[in-house]
């Protein structure tokens, strides 16, 4: 499938879409005019697809500097009468939460959908927080999708709901839905207006105490009305198998429940809850009417389970509720058909045979690592050598969110403390005040723009003392290479003003600023040494483009890097300290470099103590023949 088919294919056509791609089609079918995000897995592909399609679709899309700004862009568009869409990974909503709380009060005019992609089991996140709590915290309607088809259909429904009640609607997916592919039947596209008009109404859009009090009352009243809707909604539908045992479930967990119920032909009734806040109390009461016991199956927190327990308590029902709270199901991590089957078995009092591992061989782990030729590897190697040469042994390395967090692995071990986006700099302020240890912190270019500037101002103003390394690889690498304000291109692929990181750092009041090319080992090490000896905040901007940037020029086309066996003493500096995936020890004990993996960054050539690794020019003709 060509990605453009998401825009060009017609009603009734079927496409094989990822949940994230289906969200884009849903936005196009709903006539969304403005979309905004900060990239984050598992939501990233929504932005990647929109950045390709937005211009042709006649809508506006941006990669905002962070999620809070993204939500604010969408809120203003919706206040101006347009349909707007903002989406982010679960922790992104933490960043946006300050404005989320207020937009629930002010409400919207055009429809506004906030998609949160949660990450149970933390495939690519620092936590597995359950963002269904945000719907309760902000008091907003919540929809939960189970499949790509449902993501698309719920997008359209969410806009109707949002406009009917003039409130933003939260749509929750999880990794298994965002990254699930399935057959999606398309609906008709809707042309979106490009411009709206903001009609002023400060009593409605400016939450100062006097107006906010009114707004909160209005919100509570609206949500009571929406509660009637969720109780009657066909999105919350029971499947009866005439049983006295029932399962209440939502989202991805619904899929596991159905797979298990159908495969083993289990005699249980199932209530799928899709419109899950306000919680459909009446619907649940009806469902439980003939049941003796009910199992609540949900990812991650026992949110619905507590709602069901409250209903049982409120109505003095004599029914048992199983789930996470009584240990029938695990409290954490994503579920699977196996886990759900185990839970059903425990509820029914069945003895489940334990699964034995089929192999008793000890398997080596395969951790993710920095790519061959990654400029971060060189920077890590050099900063550690610089500290070593200055006899600085006790260094704290606060790190941040990005590929460079992989510095946690041996041998780099350049990731000692991490909280969230931008936390490397804020925590460095703390470490430099609380300890006498040397502090060297790392942050990426996109992360610096996202949340690094206020803590850097804080560091300078409060006279902190640390080295900040900005690992500027000219892209938002970990999430798949999206642009950011430091690049001359925007989210729709158009030319854009480029914000200079060195100028930004200087404007924050930093006096010691060095820009290095990390692939130049000796110069970089000297710059790091200077920075380490500086009293105050020193910033080293390590600038070299990510090896994965699309269309980048291949370096060293006529060069091959190899090892001269007569010079190599097997000191193993390259395999044990630099540890590039392209360098390995062959079966005969010799160091070898995989020519297919090698990106010819030359760092191993410069760092080999015996000068045994060389860059050799190869015959151009022969190179051609090889192609």
């Amino acid at each position: 499938m060509n990605i453009k088919e998401i825009l060009t294919r017609k009603e009734k056509d079927k496409l094989f879409l990822m949940g994230n791609e289906a969200a884009v089609r849903g936005a196009l079918e709903a006539g969304v005019s403005v979309a905004s995000t900060y990239p984050g897995t598992p939501s990233s592909e929504i932005g990647n697809v929109l950045s390709v399609l937005a211009e042709e679709a006649g809508m506006y899309f941006e990669f905002s500097v962070n999620e809070k700004v993204a939500l604010e862009v969408a809120a203003a568009a919706a206040a101006s009468g347009l349909r707007s869409f903002t989406f982010m990974k679960h922790v992104g909503l933490n960043v946006a939460s300050d404005s989320l709380m207020s937009v629930a009060y002010t409400g919207v005019r055009g429809g506004m959908v906030i998609l949160t992609a949660d990450d149970p089991s933390m495939f690519s996140s620092q936590n597995e927080q359950d963002n269904r709590h945000y719907a309760r915290l902000a008091n907003l309607p919540l929809l939960e999708a189970s499949s790509p088809q449902e993501v698309k259909d719920l997008m359209k429904y969410a806009y109707q709901l949002s406009e009917e009640f003039e409130l933003p609607v939260i749509l929750r997916t999880t990794t298994r839905v965002s990254h699930m592919r399935g057959v999606v039947e398309l609906g008709p596209l809707k042309k979106a207006p490009t411009k709206g008009h903001f009609d002023k109404d400060p009593q409605r859009f400016v939450p100062v105490p006097e107006s906010a009090r009114v707004m909160h009352r209005n919100l509570v009243e609206k949500m009571a009305e929406i509660g009637v809707l969720s109780n009657n909604s066909s999105l919350n539908h029971p499947l009866s198998r005439g049983s006295q045992v029932g399962i209440i479930t939502s989202g991805s967990a619904f899929n596991y429940v159905m797979d298990v119920v159908e495969e083993y032909n289990l005699p249980v009734n199932v209530l799928k809850i899709t419109f899950s806040h306000p919680f459909p109390e009446k619907k649940v009461l009806e469902f439980m009417d003939n049941l003796e016991m009910v199992l609540v199956v949900e990812e991650v927190d026992p949110i619905m389970e507590k709602e069901v327990l409250a209903i049982v308590g409120k109505h003095h029902l004599d029914k048992t509720v199983h789930g996470k709270l009584d240990g029938t199901l695990p409290m954490i991590y994503e579920y699977s058909p196996d886990i759900v089957l185990g839970g059903v078995g425990r509820m029914m009092g069945l003895e489940m045979p334990p699964e034995d591992d089929k192999t008793s061989l000890g398997l080596p782990k395969r951790p993710a690592t920095l790519c061959p030729g990654c400029p971060h590897r060189a920077a890590y190697f050099e900063v550690k050598k610089a500290a070593e040469e200055l006899n600085i042994t006790d260094v704290i390395f606060p790190t941040d969110i990005g590929c460079y967090t992989l510095g946690i692995e041996r041998p780099y071990q350049t990731a000692d403390y991490l909280l969230s986006m931008g936390s490397s700099i804020g925590t460095s302020c703390g470490f430099s005040k609380a300890t006498d240890q040397t502090v060297v912190s790392f942050i990426g270019d996109s992360t610096f723009f996202h949340a690094g500037i206020p803590p850097l101002l804080n560091a300078v103003h409060n006279k902190a003392n640390f080295v900040l390394v900005i690992l500027d690889n000219r892209t938002t690498a970990m999430t798949g290479g999206q642009p950011h304000p430091g690049l001359p291109i925007d989210g729709m692929g158009l030319e854009a003003p480029e914000i200079s990181i060195p100028a930004m750092v200087k404007a924050c009041g930093v006096e010691m600023v060095e820009t290095i090319n990390p692939l130049n080992v000796r110069n970089s090490r000297e710059s790091f040494k200077k920075a380490l000896q500086y009293e105050g905040v020193a910033v080293v901007i390590s600038q070299y483009p990510c090896m994965l940037i699309k269309g980048r020029k291949e370096t060293g086309k006529n060069i091959v890097i190899d090892v001269q066996d007569d010079k190599c003493t097997n000191c193993d500096t390259c395999v044990l300290e630099l540890t590039c995936p392209a360098i390995y020890t062959s079966e005969d004990g010799k160091i070898r470099i995989d020519p297919l993996m090698c990106r010819k960054c030359n760092v191993c050539v410069q760092t080999c103590p015996e000068k045994a690794i060389r860059a050799k020019r190869i015959d151009v003709e022969k190179g051609r023949n090889k192609q």
Binding site: S44, F123, T175, R181, L363, P364, R366, T369, C403, P411
Partner: protein, 198 residues
């Protein structure tokens, strides 16, 4: 009817997700229901990548342990890591080209011998097709066509629910035009190898 379950495993960068998309679209074109589960993001950078596909009636893309009909392993260690997914009726197609974890020198466990790994797989599966997919791909014109060698071998497995022609059509819809001849040859070579070694 129970779905046909395919578990694909390997290392980031081997073209596993592309292979799943081609298979999934081919299943859809054949009028079958299909769901695929995959993980992106941090796991890419040289780490383990796996996708799960169910062709037929299913809601979730996750396969129960031991319920895999076909394990398609792009790397032998990753075949072993997925062993809990197979049973004595499963087919296994495994690429014998090894990729050592980058920090194998610091690893608690050594990288197992290839023969040990294949013996282990054979002890648990109905049939193991072991092929040098990297070598076959190079022979077809480019190492990057390795995933199509694996796809070709999968298509030749008895009971595979999508026919060869529909897969080839899906390859043409999903691969860059100029790479098609090499990829088609890689696919055919994989298909042939599997048929001859069943």
């Amino acid at each position: 009817m129970n779905p046909y379950n395919i578990y694909i495993s390997g290392v980031g960068g081997q073209g596993i997700i592309k292979t799943s998309v081609i298979m999934g679209e081919a299943a859809m074109q054949s009028g079958l229901s299909v769901v695929v589960g995959e993980i992106h993001g941090m796991s890419q950078r040289g780490g383990v990548v796996s996708t799960q596909m169910k062709i037929g009636d299913s809601h979730s893309p996750l396969i129960e342990e031991g319920k895999t009909d076909l394990l398609l392993a792009f790397e032998p260690l990753e075949a072993l890591r997925a062993m809990n997914m197979i049973n004595e009726d499963s087919y296994v197609v495994v690429n014998t080209s090894t990729i050592y974890p980058f920090n194998i020198r610091q690893s608690e466990h050594p990288y197992p011998e290839l023969s040990t790994m294949l013996d282990e797989l054979e002890s648990q599966a109905k049939k193991v097709i072991a092929l040098d997919a990297d070598g076959i791909a190079k022979g077809a014109g480019h190492i990057l066509a390795m995933n199509m060698v694996m796809l070709g071998a999968a298509a030749a497995i008895p009971g595979f629910p999508v026919d060869k022609e529909t897969i080839i059509k899906s390859m043409q819809d999903n691969l860059p035009e100029k790479s098609i001849p090499i990829n088609l040859e890689a696919f055919e070579e994989g298909f042939k190898f599997c048929l001859q070694n069943l």
